[in-house]
């Protein structure tokens, strides 16, 4: 099918790729892979409407297209800008991009609690990775940070709003995976927050997926809370017969015990097949699952810098820079 559609040529950081028309710059970059891929904190390919908000994926379009070679006047969000034939894009090769990205990371961090040592997301947190690669060593922000009370939204999910970067992914997830969304973004500006407004527990069958789409530690699994640092757990691909979902998941093991269940994420941290609450929260016995083998984790984050089966990737910044 895809061979039949006319492909168009795009160059990103000097690397040429041919993609289908309508592809975004970010997805074109992902087809190339590696260093040319801009980071993305809010875009999520399976969630319609996501993207454009966090501004971490800003890139420079130095040539609009073959037809109209003028550069675009401003940096553009690569996740929501479609490519054009002959377009030339600069990601890491643009000083302007690196400067703007540094700014975005700083903005995302000024009100972040930086409580990684006690955060369950640490080790698989996209903000942590981003700050590691693009952030400043010290903050220039000298004011009181914004805080919210942490709340339990239902039996299984903890909302730690103080850590939220307002990517809206969890809102789109509830909109698109459940039939009646019960949480959303309230208030506005830097007072905006994810909330149910009233004391409400989120208990839709698929609502647990908000934990997996959250790029930071704002939504975490209460059944895994403080059980272990993720890098001490060993991820295994598992599956089960499930009437509600595909039953394909990852079991994060501490020794012989299942510490938590998540959906399977790709190299960009995105879930392709969402799982149901039953699989996620209730099937914690080894006998609930068929074990396929160790999960390959290749995101270049803190998590991959430990004792998984595969050798530590060479581009792991922790090792290169530390």
């Amino acid at each position: 099918m895809s061979e039949q559609t006319e492909k168009i040529k795009v160059t990103i950081d000097g690397k040429l790729v041919e993609v289908a028309p309508g592809t975004t710059i970010l997805n074109a970059a992902r087809e190339i892979g590696g260093e040319v891929v801009p980071p993305a904190m809010c875009y999520y390919s399976s969630l319609k409407g996501s993207g454009g908000k966090c501004r971490t994926c800003l890139v420079e379009v130095s040539k609009g297209s073959e037809k109209d070679p003028r550069p675009m006047p401003k940096l553009v969000a690569s996740c929501s800008t479609p490519v054009a034939d002959g377009m030339e894009v600069k990601n890491k090769s643009s000083e302007k991009v690196l400067d703007a990205r540094k700014g975005v990371v700083e903005f995302l961090l000024i009100n972040h609690p930086l409580d990684c040592p006690i955060c369950d997301q640490a080790g698989e947190c996209h903000l942590q990775d981003l700050a590691f690669e693009h952030g400043l060593e010290k903050t220039r922000y000298e004011f009181k940070r914004r805080t919210f009370d942490q709340i339990d939204i239902g039996e299984y999910i903890k909302l730690h709003m103080t850590r939220c970067i307002l990517c809206y992914r969890c809102v789109y997830t509830a909109d698109q995976l459940t039939n009646a969304r019960e949480h959303g973004v309230l208030k506005r500006g830097d007072a905006a927050e994810i909330s149910t407004y009233i004391q409400n527990s989120l208990d839709n069958d698929f609502i647990g997926n908000v934990i997996d789409v959250c790029p930071v530690g704002a939504l975490t699994d209460r059944t895994f809370r403080f059980k272990s640092r993720v890098w001490y757990t060993k991820p295994m691909d598992v599956h089960c017969e499930c009437s509600k979902c595909s039953g394909k998941a990852v079991a994060w093991m501490i020794g012989d015990e299942i510490a938590r269940i998540t959906a399977r994420k790709d190299q960009y941290g995105e879930v392709k097949e969402f799982i149901c609450n039953d699989c996620r929260f209730n099937k914690k016995q080894k006998s609930d699952w068929v074990f396929e083998g160790p999960r390959h984790i290749d995101r270049h984050s803190v998590i991959s810098a430990n004792k998984y089966e595969d050798p530590i990737p060479e581009h792991t910044p922790l090792l290169n820079k530390a």
């Binding site: 019960e182 949480h183 959303g184 973004v185 309230l186 208030k187 407004y197 009233i198």
Partner: protein, 184 residues
């Protein structure tokens, strides 16, 4: 100010007619477009937007309650906490600041014995500083209900507080309009 929520929530037939007129301005299936106006109507009727009021509006428009909460907390004109019968909303931006909005705020604070954001004990007045209301040529100014009061002086503030104390009306329907403002 005594209420912390509303127990009985429903519009009169007259208001329901108005709600249906507003819904009728939009194509079939786009009734959510009426939300912002219906919330104005609800706020004028019930004083503020409690959860039962918002849930009632959600039912009227066949939308999820969270969709109402999201909107009600986004726009600055909506009150999701109880307020006085008359809100004195003093503009504090740009030209109003130049023309002494801060002094007017202070004067009202002292006169009513409340701070910005507070309501008088008798439940009549709430003082609120707001951003530009589009009356920059007639500064300083405040809005009470739907009415603009411009070229404020302390004497004018005394006068209007006196008038509102006697007749604290801020209804959605049948509000007197104000044609006093601009001179060319």
């Amino acid at each position: 100010m005594s209420e912390t929520t509303h127990s009985q929530v429903s519009f009169s037939d007259e208001l329901l007619k108005e709600v249906n007129r507003v819904i009728g301005q939009f194509p079939e299936g786009k009734q959510k477009s009426a939300l912002i106006r219906v919330l104005h109507i609800a706020q004028a009727e019930f004083g503020w937007l409690s959860v039962p009021v918002m849930d009632y509006v959600a039912r009227l428009l066949h939308i999820q309650p969270i969709e109402v909460y999201e909107v009600a907390t986004f726009y600055s004109m909506y009150d999701t906490k109880p307020v006085g019968k008359v809100k004195l909303e003093v503009c504090r931006t740009g030209p109003c600041m130049i023309e002494g909005a801060e002094k007017i705020v202070k004067y009202i604070e002292d006169k009513l014995g409340i701070q910005d954001g507070e309501t008088t004990a008798d439940g009549i007045f709430t003082l609120k500083t707001v951003e530009c209301l589009g009356a920059c040529g007639y500064a300083p100014m405040l809005q009470a209900g739907e009415k603009y009061h411009e070229h404020l002086t302390e004497a004018k503030v005394d006068e209007l507080i006196e008038a509102y104390r006697k007749n604290p009306v801020a209804n959605y329907m049948g509000q007197e309009t104000n044609l006093n403002s601009a001179k060319s």
